[in-house]
């Protein structure tokens, strides 16, 4: 048998968001069945980088277990309610099994061979046989093959009342949705060979084989995801550079357009950043400016990683590489937090680890709509939010909302992360009517680590982590199913029952006269001096003062007296007054505990 490849696929379980691709007038006459199929078809073609217009010899095969049942009922309703003479001709014409094919072929201009097959739970397998035949006979060069079914109360009721016929009946609802595949004889990058497909479809879930195949073949991110991440990244970079601070707040625009509007000076850096985001390397830029989303998508398909890199005050980029498997593990392990959630409203950019997981991946995994909105602290949020929403925010934004007296509608879950949420802010959010507040403790390196819901509570480690605890402190965590191990950047005390209480950053800011300074930075600078073999910097003990202090091991042969003056001058040139260590101690080796850990001196 000839080899057939899945060049791309897409699976959807609701028709939400289809207005992104077609105007309202075009969509007005389409029923749910056609919209489900159309949305999956468009996403599949976008994932394959196939132009929506112009492919010459592309075939369209639709399989459906039951066809557009709702439309058939609409037509029967119109006969019953309005009489035979007034029955709806539109409902009739869209009640035929071929109706999804009709909409897709017209709107995507597919003029090749077309076929609809329908035999309940064997529909998809039959359609694959037809696709194989057409590709082998060169009836078509490519086949856009899709399966679509919609849930309908009549079918469910019949199944419920005929358990002897539907022996495997349970309380599950009929699985509705659409899965589309672009098949060809070409093994393009990111393609999968179409093998034998295990039959798992049932009368209740006639498309199960297609959904399972799509789940296995689909990349973690599809074209639309990459488009959103890229747009968010460009907006944030533009805002950070101050060239267009309002772009973050502006309406949704395509990445190419956002990029075009960037300051020329900023463009190379943004391309480097995007390359870094999708490949983990910022050394080579292969981004095609004209097709920025497609470039990112191609890179993602090749590497399968996302790099939530950070660039600190030193300007040194720190890579935070996450493979698709790591991101899937995290997403799956978080869904338990969000039972009953019906929609995710996110003001956090999806190019950020937190926004990516909660604003993009969790909604996909839970099959709920995601609504990205700009972080505008206005009182309108009460009108925007609705019962069942997960509102993905960060503390500074929440603080502004609370200051403005914003109240939440009933049934809203507020999510916060990126920085510690002060206890008084948590209380204020509850007082403002939030049904739940979930604070996520995490980092770009690790993703989400732990969560809590109430002020004063310790955090609970998320279920996909194993904890490494030393001396009552959480030192590192490692994933249960993927090879991600992260040293905890904070001092995190472990309380009874493995509850976690972060107590501040280990390596990072301490306050000197009200200003954040970074002992690590001073330490790195000192180590860079030619006279210094090793150095440690930390905050003085309260009885010593409120400044930094340094412990220095000089290189062999370097005199202490000469070094002292030179180092003072060196530091004075490079450091701010707040960063200057008040005292310098010299010694032969860095002070360590008996366990080999650094200690005070």
């Amino acid at each position: 048998m000839n080899k057939i490849f899945i060049n791309s696929c897409a699976c959807v379980f609701n028709a939400g968001g289809i207005e992104k691709y077609f105007d309202a007038k075009t969509l007005r006459r389409l029923d749910n069945f056609a919209k489900l199929a159309l949305k999956a078809a468009v996403k599949c073609l976008r994932n394959a980088d196939v132009s929506l217009r112009g492919e010459k010899n592309i075939a369209l095969i639709i399989s459906t277990g039951y066809g557009p049942v709702r439309r058939t009922c609409d037509f029967m309703d119109s006969i019953i309610d309005d009489g035979h003479e007034c029955a709806s001709p539109l409902a009739f014409s869209s009640s035929v099994h071929n109706s999804a094919l009709t909409s897709i072929s017209i709107l995507l201009n597919i003029k090749g061979p077309c076929l609809t097959v329908s035999n309940i739970e064997t529909s998809f397998q039959s359609a694959l046989l037809a696709a194989r035949a057409w590709l082998a006979a060169k009836t078509a060069d490519k086949v856009l093959l899709g399966t679509v079914d919609e849930e309908h109360s009549v079918i469910r009721a019949v199944m419920q009342t005929n358990p002897e016929v539907f022996a495997d009946f349970s309380d599950r609802t009929l699985q509705a949705g659409a899965a589309f595949f672009l098949l060809s004889r070409e093994n393009k990058p990111g393609s999968f060979e179409l093998g034998d497909i295990k039959r798992q479809a049932t009368p209740l879930n006639p498309s199960a084989d297609a959904f399972a195949l799509a789940a296995g073949a689909a990349p973690l991110l599809d074209y639309d995801d990459i488009e959103r991440i890229t747009a968010d990244f460009i907006k944030i970079e533009a805002a950070r550079a101050g060239s267009d601070i309002f772009s973050v707040l502006g309406p949704a625009r395509a990445p190419a357009q956002l990029f075009e509007d960037l300051d020329e000076v900023l463009k190379p850096a943004v391309l480097n950043g995007l390359n870094c985001l999708f490949t983990g390397s910022n050394t080579a830029t292969e981004f095609i400016q004209d097709d920025i989303t497609q470039s990112g998508f191609a890179k993602f398909k090749k590497h399968g990683i996302i790099n939530f890199f950070t660039s600190g005050s030193t300007g040194i980029i720190k890579n935070c590489l996450h493979t698709s498997a790591m991101l899937r593990e995290e997403t799956r392990g978080l869904c338990f937090l969000f039972g009953g959630i019906k929609r995710a409203v996110s003001i956090v950019p999806s190019s950020h680890s937190y926004g990516f997981i909660f604003g993009l991946q969790v909604p996909k995994a839970m099959d709920i709509p995601a609504l990205p909105l700009p972080p505008l602290p206005t009182a309108d949020w009460r009108a925007v939010l609705q019962e069942g929403d997960l509102f993905i925010t960060f503390p500074m934004f929440l603080k502004q909302l609370m200051a403005m007296g914003v109240k939440f509608p009933q049934g809203v879950t507020v999510l916060t992360s990126t920085a510690p949420c002060p206890d008084e802010l948590i209380d204020a959010v509850y007082e403002a009517g939030a049904a739940r507040l979930i604070e996520i403790y995490g980092a770009s390196e690790s993703g989400a680590i732990a969560w809590r819901e109430r002020a004063g509570q310790p955090f609970t480690l998320l279920p996909f982590w194993n904890a490494n605890i030393e001396n009552g402190l959480l030192t590192s965590i490692s994933r249960k199913n993927t090879p991600l191990k992260v040293d905890i950047p904070d001092i995190v005390a472990v309380e009874a029952g493995n509850r976690l209480r972060p107590c501040g950053r280990k390596d990072n800011a301490v306050q000197v006269a009200g200003i954040n300074v970074y002992p690590q930075k001073v330490e790195t600078l000192l180590k860079s001096h030619p006279a210094v073999a090793d150095a440690v910097v930390r905050l003085q003990r309260p009885q010593e003062g409120e400044r930094l202090k340094a412990f220095i091991v000089l290189k062999d042969g370097v005199g202490q007296a000469a070094a002292q003056g030179a180092l003072r001058a060196f530091m004075k040139e490079k450091l701010s007054a707040h960063e200057m260590p008040r005292s310098i101690t010299f010694g032969d080796k860095i002070p360590l505990t008996t366990f080999g850990k650094k200690r005070d001196w």
Partner: protein
């Protein structure tokens, strides 16, 4: 492509088997009648349909639909012509492809009406719909194992079934394929076509000036197609050949054909090309010829441009529009005519439509000498155009 057809069967308003059908086809003996006994509709007093005879309808078993009855009768006849006892097929790779519209649809009006009113209703028609896609039911009926597929590309389903069956054999997926289609008269399409204003209250007149639309029909057609090797092994003889298949989509309108006929033209070209045929090789084309203004105009335009001088047979004037079954019923009638060497006349034809510049065959006409093959085309809702090229059993290689 040259896939042997070793058996065929057909059921329609013309008759219960090919013998009866042949007699009535050339005599133009079938007439549409008002379906008052079959459909509870106010339209049943004014819009006629071509129905299977009571003799056939009475054979319906309790747990089967009329559509499946027609299909199994056509299959029984086809297997008989092919000299095959289904029990002898247990070791062969046997595919089953069936096209339909009604028999894959939730067109269970009486059940639905009762269910909506909260009453208990007879589940029979509904269970037919849920449990027995035609291809699976036929497979089960003969206890066959192999690939099966029910095609629902509206009115092109039957043509697609035969076209894909030929590919399955050509690609060595199957030794033998039962390929056909069936549909039964049903209130939903009956009302739907009338409400779309494309059904005629008079007997249909394909390609005529006063054509007023379709009459619905019902029935089934089925071919037994097999690989030359398998047929040789059985010592059987071909009664015809499947030579080419073409299918292209208009991407134009949900229910009306593209008036330019561009996709139909391409489908015909593809079928001819696969068959290695030119227009002058064709004995005739069995047109889709529904009798609607738009369909007949689109077909006439393409036939005039692509197949000048090729006689046009309009078999729906004998059978009505059997929807999903049409392609298979018409393929059977096409092969019947090829083997008889006679193109069937159009029944009850009125006056020519000068705008079409096309007059179908009006008298039973002998196939011209040297003509090897015929086309049968189908145009479906959704703009699907499918075409097959068939040759009679006496074809010289």
């Amino acid at each position: 492509m040259k896939i042997p057809i070793s058996g065929m069967g057909c059921v329609c308003a013309l008759g219960a088997d090919l013998g009866e059908i042949k007699k009535n086809l050339f005599a133009a003996a079938a007439e549409p009648v008002l379906p008052k006994d079959r459909l509870q509709s106010p339209y049943a007093d004014s819009f006629p349909a071509f129905m299977a005879s009571q003799k056939i309808l009475k054979e319906k078993q309790k747990d089967e639909s009329y559509g499946f009855l027609f299909l199994r009768k056509a299959a029984d006849e086809a297997l008989k012509t092919a000299g095959i006892n289904p029990q002898d097929l247990q070791d062969a790779r046997v595919g089953v492809i069936a096209g339909t519209t009604v028999n894959a649809s939730f067109n269970c009006f009486d059940f639905y009406k009762a269910w909506r009113a909260g009453k208990t209703a007879d589940h029979g028609p509904l269970l037919d719909y849920l449990n027995t896609p035609l291809s699976a039911a036929l497979q089960k009926h003969y206890n066959l194992k192999g690939p099966q597929m029910t095609i629902t590309t509206a009115c092109a389903s039957g043509t697609d079934a035969i076209g894909i069956a030929a590919q399955w054999i050509a690609q060595d997926m199957c030794d033998i394929v039962l390929a056909g289609a069936a549909d039964e008269l049903n209130l939903i399409p009956y009302t739907g076509f009338i409400r779309l204003m494309i059904a005629s209250p008079k007997p249909c007149e394909p390609f005529a000036k006063d054509r007023g639309g379709i009459n619905l029909g019902e029935g089934a057609g089925l071919f037994v197609m097999e690989s030359p090797q398998f047929m040789k092994k059985r010592g059987a003889k071909a009664i015809g050949y499947m030579l080419g298949y073409g299918t292209c989509c208009d991407a134009y309108h949900p229910t009306a054909p593209d008036p330019s006929g561009a996709a139909l033209k391409k489908a015909i070209e593809n079928a001819l090309s696969e068959a290695g045929l030119k227009a002058q090789d064709l004995a005739f084309i069995n047109a889709h010829g529904t009798g609607t203004q738009d369909n007949d105009a689109a077909e006439a335009k393409v036939f005039n441009a692509l197949l000048p001088g090729v006689p046009v047979m309009a078999s729906k004037s004998h059978t009505g529009h059997t929807l999903g079954a049409a392609g298979a019923v018409e393929a059977a009638l096409t092969l019947l005519c090829l083997n008889e060497g006679l193109i069937a006349k159009t029944a009850r034809w009125g006056a020519a439509d000068m705008a079409l510049n096309l007059i179908p065959v009006l008298e039973n006409t002998p196939v011209a000498a040297g003509k090897k093959a015929a086309l049968s085309d189908s145009l479906a809702f959704g703009g699907c155009n499918s075409v097959i090229a068939l040759a009679g059993g006496g074809i010289q290689v």
